[in-house]
């Protein structure tokens, strides 16, 4: 019995014999596997990037928050008619916080459209007065060096403002130039304490956060003589307790204002968790879609590889016959084909993966701006996908080469020798 090492050396020798002439075809097959790997890896990398930006965008408004608006009753209740408007009051926040332990955070939001000016430059935007928790609820993250409103701003009715980044650019040409400068609201100077970091915001009410100016609600109330909050923004302690918090809000305010707690229209509540769920399903759908396209691409690529391997073996049936006549055993005929399949897989997979990594790096470095690119996101590489793709293409190629080779090696050599 010959040792396994000698057997492997023999296969390598046979393979080298075969491969020298086949350089061009080998290169083409490797290119086919590389291209298949590249296509699928890129497709699924874009899918992953898209999923991430959809998730990010869905949370741009705030993670698991609810928004509470005034409404009007649609049912008579305790002798009161339907169609009665239910407004919001400043102390509703205090009431809800006291009565609902699952309510983690809540902030009133007062708002008015007015102008904000720097010298001769003037923009008309939504100005809102909020509590410090609003920044966390609505993902208003300050750019480095700045901050959001705090309790002392509220307590001392400070004249400070947190600007949306687009408003900052409109007024100061540059986001970072605004910090520490003053803007004028109703002829009163306000110190810019922070500018919002850019964020992908896919859900909104009353316009994007990038074009708003945010003041402490105490300052806002005295400046604009506001008494009623436009809405409240809240968050439950956990995603699961969101439904319970929502019905508790109806119950607590229903008994305070005397409306049927089952009357959904008495108050407007937008539970954004629903939107997040839909977005999660949407991105799953997109991934399945891309996965199916990827699988079909893989199949096409695999058929290409299979076709090449099949043609190669067919073309060499006579040669297989000659080798068998000279004393080659079946495995000495087949192993070089298997080895070729492995080599093609390895080289093609590696090449395709490297190319996709390069392409992803190039795409990542390109200064692609605009909402479309922002939602498309950056393609994100997944090593598992690359590996699985190369493996699938390689196995198809190997099987496609192995079967005709096996068939050729299993007939009588006389038959293979007659093959034209």
């Amino acid at each position: 019995m010959r040792s396994i090492a000698a057997e492997i050396a023999l296969v390598l020798k046979l393979f080298r014999h075969d491969a020298v002439r086949q350089r061009k075809r080998l290169a083409l097959t490797v290119a086919a596997v590389a291209w298949g790997t590249l296509s699928i890896v890129m497709l699924l990398s874009f899918g992953e990037g898209l999923k991430r930006s959809i998730t990010k965008g869905a949370r741009g408004l705030g993670d698991g928050i609810g928004i509470l608006w005034p409404g009007a009753t649609t049912r008579a209740w305790q002798g009161l008619p339907s169609g009665r408007p239910i407004g919001l009051r400043e102390d509703d926040g205090v009431l809800l916080r006291a009565r609902i332990p699952e309510l983690a955070e809540i902030s009133a939001e007062y708002a008015k459209y007015d102008s904000v000016a720097v010298g001769q430059k003037r923009v008309n935007i939504r100005i809102r007065g909020v509590e410090p928790s609003f920044g966390d609820l609505r993902k208003l993250v300050p750019r480095p060096g700045g901050r959001f409103l705090n309790e002392r701003d509220v307590a001392e009715k400070r004249r400070v403002v947190f600007l949306g980044e687009e408003t900052a650019v409109d007024l100061f040409h540059d986001e970072d130039a605004a910090l520490g400068r003053y803007v004028e609201i109703r002829q009163t100077p306000f110190l810019v304490i922070g500018v919002a970091q850019h964020k992908l915001q896919m859900g909104m009410y009353n316009g994007p956060d990038s074009k708003q100016a945010t003041l402490p609600y105490s300052t806002f109330k005295s400046m604009f003589n506001a008494t009623k909050p436009e809405n409240f923004v809240y968050r439950a302690a956990s995603l699961e307790s969101g439904d319970q918090v929502k019905s508790e809000i109806y119950r607590v305010l229903g008994s305070a204002r005397r409306f049927d707690p089952d009357d959904e229209r008495a108050l407007g509540v937008w539970d954004t968790r629903k939107m997040q769920r839909i977005n999660a399903q949407l991105s799953l759908g997109i991934q399945i879609f891309l996965g199916v396209i990827g699988a079909l691409t893989l199949l096409v690529g695999g058929m290409g590889v299979a076709n090449v391997m099949f043609a190669v073996v067919k073309e060499r049936t006579r040669e297989i016959g000659v080798k068998m006549a000279l004393g080659a055993k079946a495995r000495q005929i087949m192993l070089p084909f298997v080895f070729e399949g492995l080599l093609i897989t390895l080289l093609g997979g590696l090449l395709g993966t490297l190319l996709s990594l390069g392409l992803i790096a190039v795409l990542g470095a390109l200064p692609l701006k605009g909402p479309a690119f922002e939602i498309l996101g950056r393609p994100t590489f997944s090593p598992g996908v690359a590996f699985a793709t190369a493996l699938a293409l390689g196995s198809i190629g190997m099987v496609a080469g192995l079967f005709p080779a096996r068939r050729a090696a299993m007939v009588e050599p006389a038959v293979s020798l007659r093959y034209e």
Partner: protein
């Protein structure tokens, strides 16, 4: 490594290198069965030089395939160098072809992308011989057939006669018991053909058993024995056509 690589030394009990009894070969092509060999008997002794002649369709090629273990008979007994061939598995048959039989084909059947040397080395590759030994043996044989200066040439760079010399070197390289040649001069011009026939005579003179199929009476005359085959059977010696009976 038990190597029964005989130089025609292993014989069947009565001294025949090849002994075939009642060999039948039936090809099934769909509904029609074609009987290519119908109960053929053949004995060939060691160091013999046998020419097998017969009209096309007579069963010559089928006989060659069976003698060379490229195909198996439908029935009958075949003993090669003392081994019963029937019932051997594919790997064992491959070993027999590798060690006991050297093939020379009409259309050369060289690997087009490999050098003359690599082509001659091929049977030794399948036998698992180390590279240095392979190279030594193959180049010695190429020298013997007069191609010392063509070793690194590809088949495409050689003439027909030279290609057939490479094929003969390849057939001899593993020191087979028998060289089987199927119309070795069929694709050559007459001068090259004559040279190849001379080469076979030389090889035979050195003690090699040769079995050759040929249409060419002049080629067949070189053999020490001519076997006629017709309708899948050997034609008895007294019943042979004039053309070759004169030999």
């Amino acid at each position: 490594m038990a190597n029964s690589n005989g130089n025609g030394k292993q014989l069947s009990p009565d001294g025949a290198m090849i002994r075939m009894r009642d060999i039948r070969k039936v090809y099934s092509t769909g509904r029609v069965d074609v009987e290519a060999l119908r109960g053929l008997d053949l004995d060939i002794a060691a160091n013999d030089y046998v020419a097998i002649v017969g009209p096309s369709g007579s069963g010559k090629s089928t006989l060659m395939n069976l003698v060379g273990c490229l195909d198996t008979p439908t029935s009958g007994e075949y003993i090669l160098s003392g081994d019963r061939v029937a019932g051997l598995d594919r790997n064992r048959l491959a070993e027999i072809r590798n060690r006991h039989i050297g093939f020379v084909f009409q259309n050369f059947n060289l690997l087009p992308y490999a050098s003359a040397l690599a082509n001659v080395e091929l049977p030794l590759v399948f036998a698992g011989m180390p590279a240095r030994q392979r190279r030594e043996r193959a180049s010695a044989l190429l020298e013997r057939v007069g191609l010392a200066d063509r070793m690194e040439h590809k088949p495409g760079e050689l003439s027909g006669g030279q290609m057939q010399r490479v094929a003969i070197a390849r057939a001899l390289v593993n020191r087979p018991a028998i060289v089987l040649a199927d119309e070795p001069t069929g694709n050559l011009d007459s001068a090259s053909g004559r040279a190849i026939v001379d080469l076979f005579a030389e090889i035979h003179a050195a003690g090699q058993t040769i079995i050759m199929i040929s249409h060419d009476a002049a080629v067949a005359r070189q053999a020490s024995r001519v076997v006629h085959i017709r309708d899948g059977q050997i034609v008895p010696d007294g019943d042979q056509p004039m053309a070759t009976a004169a030999a």
